[in-house]
């Protein structure tokens, strides 16, 4: 265990920097400019950011595929260079590329051997994982015949072969249809139930909001926000959208604004609770029918967009 690394931390990055340099070191492109974040054990952690923010570069540094120029990276309390640590980590790269001449089953056997999983254990684990990722009956097909969603699933299965403590997924829901996304979400949630830590990058904010305990937002190589989702989003309602019907002449109370008027239907936005009460009282007294009152809290998308400078969007 490294000095200063908490027992309850699955991953810690402190001031990590990475610059890509051209041939003969001509021209440089800083990608990570001091990334600092902490992933506690047993959580689902979303690593969010616009394209080009440095998410994949960060994940490659964490998995030992890239070498950082400065800063510290501790994975399960050790540096990622340690073989024993890589045995406890599962990784699914972005848009996984596999040997397309292998079948799904052959790929899992190959990866299992590289991970040092004993043959009997591999024999019992593969069918379980194939079933878990929904590829039962398709495991003997060559990977060149797999759809993108199927490749993502077999990629997830190979990342879980070693029963890892930390699962790192790069854009696991990218390119999947809604059913596929839900299935991957369910697998991620079941990993958490098994006590594993899941660290995944995504730009699909709705999915992240649904399953993440904690998130970090990366912009231009820096973490601009990090923390538990509920503390970042807050629990207070930002505004209400009210739909009324049968109130053509009703004057909206001060503090409310008309968003749309269609026939005898009116859509209003109210930002204060007392104004909402006033509006509802007026509607009732005017004989209007209240069709809907929808409270809006700040969403992850709102938070995300508020952190992204205009030129990056």
């Amino acid at each position: 265990m490294k000095k200063g690394v908490g027992m309850d931390e699955a991953l810690r990055l402190k001031g990590v920097e990475k610059t890509f340099r051209g041939h003969l070191s001509i021209g440089s492109h800083p990608v990570l400019r001091g990334v600092t974040l902490t992933v506690p054990k047993g959580v689902i952690y979303g690593f969010l950011g616009p394209n080009g923010a440095g998410k994949t570069t960060t994940l490659k540094v964490v998995t030992g595929l890239l070498f950082h120029d400065a800063g510290e990276v501790a994975v399960l309390g050790e540096t990622i260079g340690e073989r024993s640590i890589r045995s406890r980590v599962g990784f699914l790269p972005e848009t996984p590329y596999f040997y397309d001449y292998l079948s799904g089953l052959e790929l899992l056997v190959f990866m299992g051997r590289l991970l040092g999983v004993p043959s009997p254990k591999l024999g019992s684990r593969i069918p379980v994982l194939v079933r878990a990722v929904g590829l039962e009956g398709k495991e003997r097909l060559q990977l060149r015949k797999y759809s993108k969603g199927m490749l993502q699933r077999i990629g997830l299965a190979q990342a879980l072969l070693n029963d890892p403590d930390l699962v790192i997924l790069d854009e696991p829901m990218s390119g999947l249809d809604p059913i596929g996304r839900r299935e991957i979400r369910d697998i991620i949630l079941s990993l958490k139930e098994q006590g594993k830590t899941v660290f995944f990058s995504s730009h699909i904010l709705a999915d992240a909001e649904m399953i993440c305990d904690q998130v970090a937002i990366l912009v231009k190589g820096r973490v601009v926000r990090e923390g538990p989702l509920e503390s970042l989003l807050g629990s207070e309602v930002q505004f209400w959208d009210v739909t009324l019907r049968g109130a053509p002449g009703m004057a909206p109370p001060p503090g409310s604004s008309v968003l749309a008027r269609q026939g005898n239907q009116l859509l209003l936005r109210v930002e204060k609770e007392e104004v909402l009460q006033d509006l509802l009282d007026r509607a009732r007294s005017d004989g209007a029918s209240i069709r809907g009152v929808v409270p809006h809290k700040i969403s992850l998308e709102d938070l995300f967009l508020s952190q992204i400078p205009g030129e990056v969007r």
Partner: protein
């Protein structure tokens, strides 16, 4: 479930088996193999049109074809051995697992050597058939094949070294240059040095020869063609030269590849 050092042979075997599958499941491999056998039969048959000892010419043409074609295959496949893995991003899945970069290189190398062995065996089998048909068969062609394989071990290690640090085009040029130098460097002490008058110039030429590779140290094709036995200790020297050269190249490849960013 933790992979430890005792898993290294299993990892190398898995990587080698995968490299072998990659080649043998590709149509290019069979087209190349068929082309090699046809070329061999054609070039051997051409020997019958030659003036002089037909048997010698056929044997000479056959072994030369086997030697050149195997070397070209080793260069052609070897230069993409690492580069292709990076370009296709298949390497990310492997090196994010408890597989050291050195093990990855050795596994890929071992797999390609298995492919080249199959390739060589097919060509030697075809040559045996041709020679038997025309009455010129000698069992020494198997010994010649053994030395050709030693040469392939070195050429592939050179291709692997360049593949781990640069692009396929540069790797191909550098490996081809190594092959050409390796087959001509023996002329330095044998032809150039005796013709020089200056002692210092002679010493310089000899020193240069010792720095450059000499693949003729592994070549017995001419001896087989002319029925001359190998000098005593030839095999030991050839084996030692191969093991040392391959060892140095694999260590150098690993050292270069170890710090390489996989972008």
């Amino acid at each position: 479930m933790v992979a430890d050092r005792s898993d290294v042979p299993r990892q190398i075997a898995a990587l080698a088996a995968n490299t072998f599958k990659e080649a043998t499941r590709s149509r290019v491999f069979y087209i190349l193999l068929a082309f090699a056998v046809c070329l061999l039969v054609f070039s051997s048959a051409m020997g019958f049109m030659a003036i002089g000892s037909i048997r010698r010419v056929v044997l000479d043409m056959g072994l030369a074809t086997v030697s050149y074609f195997s070397a070209m295959t080793a260069i052609f496949v070897g230069i993409g051995l690492i580069y292709r893995e990076i370009e296709r991003k298949t390497i990310y899945n492997i090196l994010s697992k408890p597989v050291s970069r050195g093990v990855f290189l050795v596994g890929r190398y071992a797999g390609l050597m298995a492919v080249l062995l199959v390739n060589l065996a097919a060509m030697i089998a075809a040559l045996s058939v041709v020679l038997t048909f025309f009455g010129g068969f000698t069992p020494r062609i198997f010994a010649a094949a053994g030395y050709i394989y030693l040469e392939l071990l070195i050429i592939t290690a050179v291709a692997l070294f360049f593949s781990s640090i640069t692009s396929p085009v540069v790797s191909a040029l550098c490996t081809a240059a190594f092959y050409l130098i390796g087959h001509t460097s023996s002329a330095l002490p044998e032809l150039l040095a005796p013709s020089l008058e200056s002692v210092w110039a002679k010493r310089l030429v000899i020193a240069l020869y010792h720095i450059l590779p000499d693949l003729n140290l592994l070549n017995i094709n001419n001896l087989v063609v002319h029925d001359i036995p190998e000098a005593p200790g030839f095999t030991i020297r050839a084996l030692a030269y191969t093991v040392l050269t391959v060892g140095i190249l694999l260590v150098a490849s690993t050292m270069c590849f170890k710090r390489r960013d996989l972008v």
